[in-house]
Amino acid sequence: MSDDKYESHIKAVLSECSDADPEAVKLAFVKYEEEFYIPPQDALRSIIRRFQGEKEVNSPSTITSNQVRSTKKVKALSELSGEDRDIEIEVEVISHNVREQTIRGEQKNIAFGLIEDNPWGEGTQRTRWEYKDWGPNSNITPGSVIRIEGASVNEYQGRMSLNINQSTRIAVLREGTRPVNDPGEPININDLPKEGYVCLVGRVLSSRNDQIHRKDGSGSIDVVRGRIADESGTIGFLSWEPFEHEVGSLIKIDGSQVRTFRDTPELNFGRTTKIEPYHDANFADAEKLNSQNVMTISQLTDGSRDVETIVQIIDWEKRSFTRDGEEKHLWSGQIADPTGKCRMSAWEELPIESSKLPITIKLKGVRVRAWQGIPDITVDGADQVEILEQTPWDDSIDLKEHIVEVDLDEVTSSSSRVGISTEGVVVSVRDDSGMIMRCSECRRVLKDDECSTHGSVKGTKDIRVRLVLDSGRTTASLLLNKEASLNLVNMTEKDMESEIKSNGQMEFVQMLRNKFLGRKLKANGRSIVDDQGAMILAESSSVIDEESSLIATEVRAKWGVN
């Protein structure tokens, strides 16, 4: 390394700390660069601070401007004075106008208008003030009632107004103008909301009469169930009214309600739903739509009906149980396709011999339940099953050992899956990682030696590590079982226990952070996805050793940065 490389930087340090040794300063620059990858211009300030050392007289450490913030909550605007800086109030927005203004060289939208206090009172005296919104907050709409938290009062020539800053929180308590979906404008099945009234155009793929039995035993209701498809996807329907459109016909449905049963959306046709034939010669035909109706295991969701799929049975066993004094049988086992694994149960004996496994079958009209997040295909009758001679996929894949590599974003957006492997950056090591006590009855984690259902019990020791994997777009929590935890941390159970005992839980978790935070991890196992987000239960997990220069070269090539 050339001697004068740091010349200008060393000079800068010396002019600041005249009695520093130039050689020592230079060594510091070398150290920052070689040991910490910090180029001299970035290390400069740190080095100056270091050589100034104790010489520096510390500036006063109490900042007067940083006063304790105490929010002043008021009911009426009249309770406020011109000095109030942090107030909270509920108001109705009377008007809202946006105007463009140049602030610090940037075009900004500033909103202003009128608000009235006492928004819930009927006919009572209301005070009206002007406000200015520097945000501007998109959720301030005329007619809405909002709670403003952290606004300040402005008094100018005796006129009072409210300043809503960027740090102000606006909570909408009552929506002003409701956004209305265009009625009569059809949307793709794939884009249907989980709940709400919709309009769509689709082809009837199946339709059959069914009955729903009232739970109180007061009788039953005749309904029609079936499936409708367009090129974007398929969806099941339930009609409470007579439905006479034939299979294969193209219809426009307006005013149908989407309801989500378990994890599966379903269209409901009622008295107000308008269904009429639709004409579009270019609309995909039934054959094409039927072929896309065939689902893969990765697409199965809890509550699906009329499912068509091709799977391979990996293991299969008969179980017996007694219900109402009668012995009943249930057959169940593990099934797989190239997208993953799940379970299947049958209430009738199927022509499946254990010795001939794996066997590939085609299922039609089956339904899906999920157990602990894992889809379980229910076969109600043997006529729903057709045994195939060949697999439609490359039969050299051994599905029993097959682990499907799934992008983290796909894991978080699809339903629960088994037999997957995914990758993500560790952005959190949970504080409860390490040794835990489980209830000996139900395996729940004990809190202060207490189980939430079984009370004070003697627990059994277990080990786990809880992390969060992140793709930059979505996140999933990752739960490692004992074996996976010990392997990842590279410790024996004994070592871990003594480590936690001698250094403490906090120090142990920090050790894990030092090891894993910001690193990419691969996890194999299964996923559970629900409203709370995605969780991966891993049987094994390992750090992906990344070479920064390789990634950098890739980035240069990919984006043309040279």
């Binding site: 010349e7 200008s8 002019s15 600041e16 920052y32 660069e33 070689e34 910490f36 990858y37 180029p39 970035d42 290390a43 300030r45 740190s46 601070r49 500036s59 450490s61 109490t62 900042i63 401007s65 304790v68 602030i103 610090r104 940037e106 900004k108 939208n109 907050n137 998109s138 800053n165 960027q166 740090s167 606006i170 909570a171 909408v172 709400g196 952005v427 959190s428 504080d431 969060v468 992140d470 793709s471 930059g472 777009r473 996140t475 929590s477 906090m506 978790v509 920090q510 952070r513 935070l517 910001g518 409203d531 709370q532 987000g533 920064s548 220069s549 950098a552 990919k558 984006w559 940065v561």
Partner: protein, 308 residues
């Protein structure tokens, strides 16, 4: 329909200090529990970040209610991230803050990685600052730092490319939905373009190039000699003086005098330049106010100052 409470964890964005620090737009959902986001110039909506760099400053400050907060600066090749560790953070972050600050005092360099929540705040004067609230931190080695840099560059290039692509469309939902941009990015892009106006991406590109050099271990090309006249030298002159207040006054006047192109100088520029001369942000803020009050400077437009 009832608004569903969004309990899903927000992802952490790999981001360089320059992109985050230049943000002045906040986005809050309308629901009670909606997360808030900082929207960067590139249209990234960020609630949480994963950042790394050299810990340049870590100081305890006593707030007037008696509790102690730690304020820190994290330097990456593009600039500084400001963060603060207050009462509300986890014990482990608090303990690390104490540990780091004493380590730093002893002159030991610290390469730090942190996952942090983003925050944007506005002073009554209207200036907007970014800040981070660390959730988890750890000391890292150069290998992990270099990997982070490389990944961050990739993430920034994705954002820059999306931004450039978006320019073929109007900054509204109707036009933008015709683009092939991922739906998840469109909302932020529209908000950013309407808020920030036209952008020059060149300095982000330079940041990326420099960060890539470091990620590849080419420190030589990432090193820059200092320009002849740097802030540091003026810092020397300033620090040699005793009367800090007069000093600050002349510094502010000097800054405005030399930077005023006719429209005045904006608040943030004054603060940053004054900071480079060794004056604390809060002190400068107060001084600007008092200079404005006694008529030395005036404010022709909101947030812009000129000499009288």
């Amino acid at each position: 329909m009832q608004a569903t409470r969004n309990v899903r964890r927000q992802p952490a964005i790999h981001i360089l200090a320059s992109e985050f620090g230049e943000s002045t737009l906040n986005e809050k959902g309308s629901g009670e529990f909606d997360p808030s986001f900082v929207v960067t110039k590139l249209g990234s909506r960020i609630n949480r970040v994963i950042v790394a760099g050299l810990l340049e400053r870590m100081e305890a400050r006593e707030v007037s209610n008696g509790s102690v907060i730690y304020q820190g600066q994290l330097r990456d090749p593009s600039g500084l991230n400001y963060f603060s560790v207050g009462d509300y953070v986890s014990d482990s972050v608090k303990e690390l803050a104490i540990e780091f600050s004493s380590k730093l005092e002893s002159g030991e360099p610290i390469l730090l990685m942190m996952v942090a929540k983003t925050r944007l705040y506005q002073t009554d004067e209207g200036a907007v600052y970014t800040s981070l609230r660390p959730e988890e931190m750890c000391i890292i080695d150069t290998k992990r730092y270099a990997t982070w840099l490389a990944r961050t560059c990739d993430a920034m290039m994705v954002r820059m490319t999306n931004y450039t692509k978006s320019l073929d469309f109007e900054a509204n939902m109707e036009s933008m939905s015709k683009s092939e941009l991922p739906l998840s990015t469109i909302k932020g892009l529209i908000a950013a373009r309407n808020h920030y106006g036209e952008l020059d991406l060149e300095h982000y590109r330079l940041n990326v190039m420099q960060a890539l050099d470091i990620a590849e271990g080419k420190l030589e090309s990432a090193s820059k000699p200092l320009p002849q006249k740097v802030d540091i030298e003026s810092e020397v002159e300033e620090n040699d003086n005793q009367t800090n207040q007069d000093d600050l006054e002349s510094a502010i006047i000097d800054i405005i005098k030399s930077l005023d192109q006719g429209d005045g100088v904006d608040f943030e520029t004054i603060i940053v330049n004054s900071e480079a001369r060794g004056h604390q942000r809060s002190v400068t803020e107060e001084k600007i106010e008092s200079l404005s009050d006694d008529g030395t400077i005036h404010e022709p437009a909101f947030g812009w100052f000129r000499l009288v």
